[in-house]
Symmetry: C2
Subunit: 700 residues, 2 copies
């Protein structure tokens, strides 16, 4: 359930259609709460737990965001970080080679010197949150047209982030919350020297494979350990979560602190219907094709299979999640619940003449903007060059153009405050697989040709009179962009260097850049700005009608969820709150220890040393979604009892509506992690470091 | 998923509304086939298995019907029979006392002398099948009205069964198949001296309780062993299934030979709609109330809880099955499939003028009869006296009246050929719990009062001016029917003795008997005979249109199912074909070894001696339903590899439509039965007897 890889894709798909506040008084255990507005009342009323600022600060500063999509936490004073194996997967793949496959075989550094540096992993710790709503919204004057207001807000955001970066040296992001009716400045401590300490075999981390993904009961050891370095040394992480191998038990209050990627709980019915009728069917079509392409490529040989594996994993993960979400959208009860919510909200707005006048037309404005967006849906989604090298080429061409403009007028991702992270990505030394690049590009162009037709101007620009395969072959064979040094020269050489370049991918990116800009402009005027403005109005209406009693939709920023460790009704019976390592062996042998259900050999070799009654996975009612992967699961004392790695199949419609009946977050339990570190992986030094920093000293 | 207890109830509920043939060409692995018409072609085409008459005869003669609802098989030459614990449950309860609870504690007879005789268990072995369609249908002349034809067929059935009994000494039943378009004479060898050899604790037999009932993956040891005696000695059972502890594996062809209770696959849409709109909602209302009553009673003390437990088990079992079936009826896809089938069938009938003239109106006749039935639905279902004693009283009063009539004119259950089994039931020495009788009767009368109102003549006859509780108290306190000797005197004394009796339950049964007869008469004229006639026409139409390529609906008679041992898609992932004993410990500990998920102590004490990799349960695509409980699961060689004990939750709509995707039959594997007999229960003599008669000699 990793969030990562889909982020950029989704942004493109949705035209940044923002969602709108609708929710009525909350049910128990619902919510992904910002740390400035924790659910203190709910915790007190339901759990008699008085949450304190000290507790909140400690948990926040112990929490880590994995910038390529995921969460984690510090678990020792020496910069040791725990996350999921599947959050680490991209980096594991990048440091693997044909000879040494850390994904399949796992890795353990007995000493710090053996730890492996990740090529392009950025970690963030949220240091502060500041409400900057008045500065941002104040920048747009009432008389302005939507597009003018849009530009004014963009400029204000750039100014605030740039000033903050200069002043504090911290990564500074302005985050729209409550559908753009609030804006917050989040400052992050950023780390880029991250080293791998330990990862188990993917077979045990992703035990059960695509089949078991997003389901429960579960038996996965989805864990990975990194260490954060600064100036060549492990950081002293003052705030870290104390490990408690005893875990938790049925009925216990638990918390999750992490970065849920996105939810659509507050969108209007028009937006939901767009998702159901246009967006999801489109995604299935596109990504099914992508998987088919990658599987064909994988069949070329074992090294090709290794290269494609992480992408296939990511796409299948997304497809299964979307499948569950889409089922939610097709569920008439879910849609009826949302419709009732919207009707009640609009009725309240319309019953007050002042509100009606100010906010009443916002829903129709959104519906109209969505209708307009459909006319360019195909162009917006099929006029792109797939693959990592093509993405780099396009970004460099945009970069040299944008960088000349005043900060506030640039495309958001090129604003000064974003440049360090952007360059970290552009200059990543991670390996490039040219054959896979060519394969992907060829199939992507073929797909665009089928969808746009040969007469589409973009298509003609890209292909000329050639076939997609031919164009892809020439582009990838001719480009030098696989070399980070070459990219660096282009970036530093600026527009002159890019204009002079004869690199075929750069030449092509130059040609199509104007068309992309025209499309971007059209969308900002006709869609994005109108939806932003209407959403902001609906957000304000919500505050007027219901007060600030709820949480904003997820934005891949730090949130706190709470709930109970608790089973649930499942497929005719009940699912238990937890599973044990007995179940791991049962499920492996039930499937003849084959395929995705095969255990690494050493599990059988060392079975008799294991305490099979040890808890391995558990579920809680905590409200999470993709992006929360790797989040610490925490008890009342702020101790670590597990790491979030999945939701159950019943949680997938949670993107639209949280239903406590069966929506569950799935964690790996500390107990099984410690048991296996010691008895399967002989990772004594790591286990000792964790337990010495923890609260529970197990017999060693 | 026991069939037993619901049979009589269901017959009352449905007015014996027979179902009608509809099915089109069969899917793979579908069908509950009679032994005279096995699916030889399907087995050859799909599995390359040539089924032989020798194989069929051996399996048939090794199969046993438990007459109170269930199936079983001979597994040694010394009359040893295997069935489910939950099929044995009623007898276990009847031989238990306040001091010795064999249900909770289990039982094992180390020697034959220790075996415990069951009070009223009848076992049947199907010795022969004879097509008597022409005699039965020929008895009804074309000129007859439906009711006349109904009576003529009834008389012909009585004559055939009585003649057969006299001639062969075998229990003889005439079975309507294919919705009454065929009639078959089934002759059974009958055994009534059945002794308990071994039963484990209910905790392990019904591990997971109501929650896990009708679901999978599963970890139950739902087994019980009986021995069949004749003339005080174990019978020599020439035909028995050889035990194979090695079991089967994924993809293997397997068979089930047993007695599926009833299915509704061939009913008309009008009949399905009646089930959906009237029958199922009625059942939920009635049985929810029954459970509530029994739970109140159970709270009076541990002995009361013990007494009520078996009934609660049975009702909850039925309620869960009905819940799954009802879900099927509410499934628009299922209903659409059935509607399409009916439409196609009727179109074919109507396209042939001769068929149209002969059969075309049958569907409307059934719809009209169902419509008529609704006017007396409440009277038919609420004018009854609940409880075992009241049932005995009613039956005795009917008996002495019916026995005077010519055999062919009696109510079917009082025909000569049925009398031995009827008396076996009426004279059973099984204990009667007077307090529970009173409790049930009081609540049942209260329910009737609420439904029928105080002015209903039956209600007035039963209550007079008294309250239900008062009447129940007087009836149960005053009756001597708990004593089998008293029942015997009444039966032998005939109508004179019954008329002279002042036993209050007999007096009341006499008073209400005429009303019941009037209702029975009304139903036969207005509903049953019309539906029987129309159903027979539809059955004939089906043979005309499709030929005899399918199997009849289930009738609690011996059938053969076949299929593959095979997992299936389940709740977002896949269920394995089998489970292991590791999973038993996982599920117990996942629920803290508490409640229905607690294991008997000795499982933990002896855990280290067990091979936990042993297969415990497995699933196959074999087509089964309640009544199949205890059926042997058999491999190609005719060896025993398991015992059927349940279907998965996805199998419940199988009452109406078989869908191979996820409809699975669940068996206990021979492997775990043997492992536990030897290592948990120290049942060496039993295990040796089984294995010496078997094909696989495991290390002992």
């Amino acid at each position: 359930m990793k969030h990562g890889f889909t982020t950029t894709v989704l942004l493109a798909l949705f035209f940044s259609i923002n969602s709108v506040l609708l929710t009525l008084p909350l049910r128990a255990d619902e919510g992904m709460w910002t740390f400035d507005n924790p659910p203190a009342k709910q915790l007190k009323d339901k759990y008699h737990f008085a949450i304190t600022q000290v507790w909140l600060d400690h948990v926040r500063l112990s929490s880590v965001r994995f910038n390529d999509g995921g969460s984690g936490s510090f678990i020792s004073p020496n910069g040791l970080v725990l996350t999921n194996h599947h959050v680490a997967l991209g980096q594991l793949q990048k440091i693997s080679t044909q000879e040494k496959d850390y994904v399949a075989d796992g890795f353990y550094a007995k000493t710090e010197t053996e730890e492996l540096k990740c090529p392009d992993l950025e970690l963030n710790v949220l240091m502060s949150m500041e409400n900057v709503t008045s500065q941002i919204l104040g920048a747009a004057k009432p008389a302005m047209a939507p597009k003018e207001a849009f530009d004014a807000r963009k400029a204000a955001i750039a100014k605030i982030t740039e000033e903050s970066l200069k002043k504090t040296g911290l990564r500074s992001d302005v985050i729209p919350l409550y559908q753009g009716s609030e804006y917050w400045l989040y400052r992050y401590k950023k780390y880029t020297d991250i080293r791998l300490v330990m990862a188990p075999e993917q077979q045990i981390a992703f035990f059960g494979g695509d089949d078991d993904n997003f389901t429960y009961p579960r038996y996965d050891l989805d864990m990975a350990f990194f260490r954060v370095y600064e100036n060549g040394k492990p950081v002293h992480s003052e705030n870290y979560l104390k490990w408690n191998s005893a875990g938790a038990n049925d009925g216990d209050l638990v918390f999750v602190s992490g970065n849920p990627g996105s939810t659509d709980r507050l969108q209007t019915m028009a937006q939901l219907e767009f998702l159901r009728d246009v967006s999801y069917p489109f995604r299935f079509k596109r990504f099914d094709r992508l998987v088919a392409m990658l599987k064909r490529y994988s069949q070329l040989g074992p090294e090709q299979a290794r290269r494609a594996m992480v992408r296939i994993f990511g796409i299948n993960n997304a497809l299964k999640a979307w499948g569950g979400e889409y089922k939610g959208l097709l569920d008439t009860a879910l849609i009826a619940k949302r419709q009732e919510g919207e009707n009640a909200f609009r009725d309240k707005v319309n019953s007050n003449p002042e509100w009606k006048n100010e906010y009443g037309s916002a829903w129709d404005s959104i519906a109209a903007a969505i209708e307009r967006s459909k006319s360019t849906f195909k162009q917006a989604n099929y006029r792109n060059l797939p693959g990592r090298l093509a993405g780099i080429a396009t970004t460099i061409v945009e970069y040299v153009e944008e960088i000349k403009k005043p900060d506030g007028e640039r495309l958001p991702q090129f604003q000064d405050a974003k440049l360090p992270s952007l360059k970290f990505y552009l200059l990543s030394p991670a390996p490039v697989y040219s054959d896979l690049e060519e394969y992907s590009l060829a199939d992507g162009l073929q797909e665009s040709l089928e969808e746009l037709g040969p007469n589409d101007p973009w298509m003609q620009t890209v292909l000329g009179n050639k076939a997609p395969q031919e164009v892809a072959k020439e582009l990838i064979a001719g480009t030098k962009l696989a070399d980070p040094k070459f990219r660096k020269e282009l970036i530093e050489g600026g527009k002159a260097a890019v204009n002079a370049s004869t690199d075929p991918l750069i030449v092509l990116a130059r040609k199509i850049d104007p068309m992309a800009r025209t499309m971007q402009q059209w969308r900002e005027i006709n869609v994005t700005s109108a939806i932003d403005q209407a959403s902001e109005l609906i957000g304000k209406a919500r505050f007027a009608v219901y007060g600030k009693t709820v949480y904003p939709d997820a934005t891949f920023t730090l949130r706190l969820s709470y709930g109970t460790m608790k089973g649930y009704p499942m497929n005719g019976t009940i699912a238990p709150a937890k599973t044990t390592m007995y179940g791991l062996f049962d499920r492996a042998l039930s499937f003849n220890n084959e395929g995705e259900f095969a255990l690494p050999k050493r599990y059988f070799e060392r079975k008799d040393q294991l305490n099979l009654a040890t808890q391995i996975n558990f579920v809680s009612t905590c409200d999470i979604i993709g992006g929360n992967s790797g989040s610490p699961t925490i008890n009342e004392k702020g101790e670590l009892i597990g790491v979030i790695f999945d939701g159950d199949i019943e949680s997938l419609p949670g993107r639209f509506v949280y239903d406590e009946t069966a929506n569950r977050a799935v964690s790996v339990a500390t107990g099984a992690m410690m048991e296996c570190l010691r008895k399967i992986y002989d990772a004594k030094a790591l286990a000792d470091e964790i337990e010495e920093a923890g609260v529970h000293t197990a017999s060693k």
